[in-house]
């Protein structure tokens, strides 16, 4: 085996491990943020495999798409979840894989929350036979913290069967009619020419699909999707998560904010849930364009 072949195998093994371990970590870690990052790692690993397969434009395109996409998705995941950092869940009793992918998340020595959590966990394990009773979870309402459905074991069995079956099928039929020709190195030019000739309708169709996507997303999520101002305020207040997890803001954090910077804090960055209520809105337009003029 030559050095180049060994290097290719080395790169392949590293990238394959990143992509599979990333997907596994996404499904099993306790931290919402981590699961988004693990998924991104999985996508970057697959992008590396694309590059290894000589599809470099496609691989980089996937990296660009999913770094932006996953960072945005994590914003929403953090908004929707009760314990996005996973530091509370990380103290629970977990299976081996879950523990491995949640390593380094929490170290709090006190295990007071354990009993309550274990209760939820038992319910989860026993509900394994299909039809999951909504009363079981409904009674606890928002207190039910578990991230997985009661059919978790069945899902694991199914996915192991499916993955194992597919791998077995692949190993049973290892011979595919392959060729040794190498692709044209100017992949961007080849793709561009195909997009402009044979796949022009697909290109415009993708544009139309993106447009419909924008229409749908804006229509559903826009701030004005409420009947009137009062209804909107009601929703926005309800939009706040049930209870902030850290009650006490650090005294030092507020002390050193100069008064003129306070307004800046409320219109920028993330809104703390302690701030409460709808934050002020910017008046649109002219200030932004003025600064552009000065800048250019």
């Amino acid at each position: 085996m030559s050095f180049a072949e060994a290097a290719e195998w080395f790169a392949f093994v590293i990238l394959a491990v990143i992509s599979v371990a990333g997907a596994l970590g996404m499904a099993t870690t306790m931290s919402m943020f981590r699961s988004g990052i693990f998924l991104m790692a999985s996508f970057i690993g697959v992008a590396g495999l694309f590059v290894l397969l000589s599809a470099d434009l496609l691989g980089l395109l996937q990296v660009m798409m999913y770094i932006g996409g996953m960072l945005v998705m994590i914003l929403f995941m953090v908004l929707f979840s009760h314990d996005p950092g996973g530091s509370m869940m990380a103290d629970m009793d977990m299976s081996l894989i879950e523990r491995f992918f949640s390593l380094g998340l929490s170290s709090s020595p006190d295990k007071e929350g354990m009993d309550m959590e274990r209760h939820g966990h038992d319910g989860m394990d026993m509900g394994g036979q299909g039809g999951h009773d909504p009363m079981d979870m409904g009674g606890q309402g928002g207190m039910d913290m578990s991230m997985t459905t009661p059919v978790k074991r069945w899902a694991a069995a199914l996915s192991v069967t499916l993955g194992g079956g597919l791998v077995a099928l692949l190993l049973l039929r290892p011979a595919w009619p392959t060729t040794d020709t190498t692709p044209n190195p100017e992949s961007a030019r080849m793709i561009g020419e195909l997009l402009m000739s044979k796949y022009m309708m697909a290109f415009e169709g993708a544009g139309l699909l993106i447009l419909i996507g924008i229409f749908g997303a804006v229509l559903v999520a826009r701030p004005g999707a409420y009947p009137d101002r009062d209804a909107r305020d009601a929703y926005v207040t309800r939009d706040l998560p049930p209870a902030p997890i850290d009650e006490d803001p650090p005294p030092s954090a507020d002390a050193h904010v100069p008064p003129e910077a306070l307004e800046e804090v409320t219109v920028s960055g993330a809104h703390r849930d302690e701030a409460g209520g709808p934050p002020p809105q910017n008046e649109t337009g002219q200030a932004a364009s003025e600064s552009l003029d000065r800048d250019s």
Binding site: D56, L75, A288, D295
Partner: protein, 301 residues
């Protein structure tokens, strides 16, 4: 071996770029109200530590950012044959790997688990949402005229005329969005003083060092890519190629940093409005204008 030599060359470029930018940038920033990533170490407060930081992601942040700038340095050309690696899709590769800096800021920010550093994740992501589209549109104009994504081909296409003359709108767009991409004033929200200079406030000494290295090189990268795209890269009379490249890079850096620090700071909301309501429409219009120019026969043939 040849590959090792090239890798050492990239490392040397990283060191040189970070060092030069480190001493050059404060001079241009002299009386700015916010210094952003160029804040000197003495001006920062004590290190903020959370009881349970994420012990894997917090250190991974600066490493990821550093890898991003290392990767991006691969395609910057200093002469016709003086480029670490002339990738066929160089410019696109550059845009993609610079995103790793944002990823690093998010990892380090959220992983540190302090109030100020978690804020960095939100601000950096908002900045990403703001700059990616207009910056890409600013690149597209140059790519259309050069007919190639390779950085060397783009510089070669400017043998007759620099693209800044042919596409002044694209150049202006690049200056503004480049500042956004490099987190320099007036777009310093992720490094603002009132959140303890962002990730700096929650970093140990070695992490702060790596952040500083990555962010100084980031400004260099943005200016160097501007010189490649619009100012003809290494091309110029009398002096050798690398000297012209450095002159243009630091000239562009001086213009960007000095101009940016004379403008009032923009909050994240204002920045998003500027990006989506002003810069993106201008960028789309610029693409159409450049297309019409090419159809009229202007530009390299």
């Amino acid at each position: 071996m040849e590959l090792t030599l090239r890798a050492l060359g990239v490392l040397a470029a990283l060191g040189l770029a970070a060092l030069l930018t480190h001493f050059f940038e404060p001079a241009a920033l002299s009386d700015a109200q916010e210094r952003g990533p160029a804040t000197p170490a003495g001006a920062r407060g004590p290190v903020e530590l959370a009881p349970n930081p994420d012990r894997w992601m917090h250190p991974a942040g600066p490493v990821t950012a550093l890898l991003g700038v290392l990767f991006a340095l691969i395609v910057i050309p200093y002469g016709p044959d003086l480029v670490p690696r002339d990738l066929g899709i160089g410019v696109f590769y550059f845009i993609v790997v610079v995103d790793f800096v944002v990823l690093g800021l998010s990892l380090g920010g959220w992983g540190a688990n302090t109030r100020n550093s978690v804020d960095v994740y939100y601000r950096a992501t908002a900045q990403l949402v703001a700059y990616v589209v207009p910056l890409g549109l600013a690149y597209i104009g140059a790519i259309m005229m050069a007919r190639s994504l390779s950085t060397v081909s783009i510089v070669d296409a400017q043998a007759g005329m620099w693209f800044v003359v042919l596409q002044p709108i694209g150049f202006a767009l690049y200056l503004v969005t480049g500042l956004m991409q490099a987190y320099r004033p007036p777009f310093v929200e992720p490094f603002a003083a009132f959140i303890e200079h962002g990730v700096y406030g929650a970093s140990f000494a070695w992490q702060a060092l790596l952040w500083r290295l990555a962010l100084s090189s980031l400004l260099f990268l943005v200016a160097a890519m501007g010189a490649v795209l619009y100012l003809g890269g290494w091309r110029g009379p009398l002096l050798p190629g690398p000297v012209w490249m450095l002159l243009k890079t630091f000239g562009l850096m001086a213009i960007m940093v000095w101009g940016g620090s004379r403008v009032p700071l923009l909050s994240t909301g204002r920045m998003l409005e500027l990006s989506w309501k002003v810069l993106t429409p201008i960028g789309l219009a610029n693409v159409l204008v450049v297309g019409a120019l090419i159809l009229l026969g202007v530009g390299p043939s």
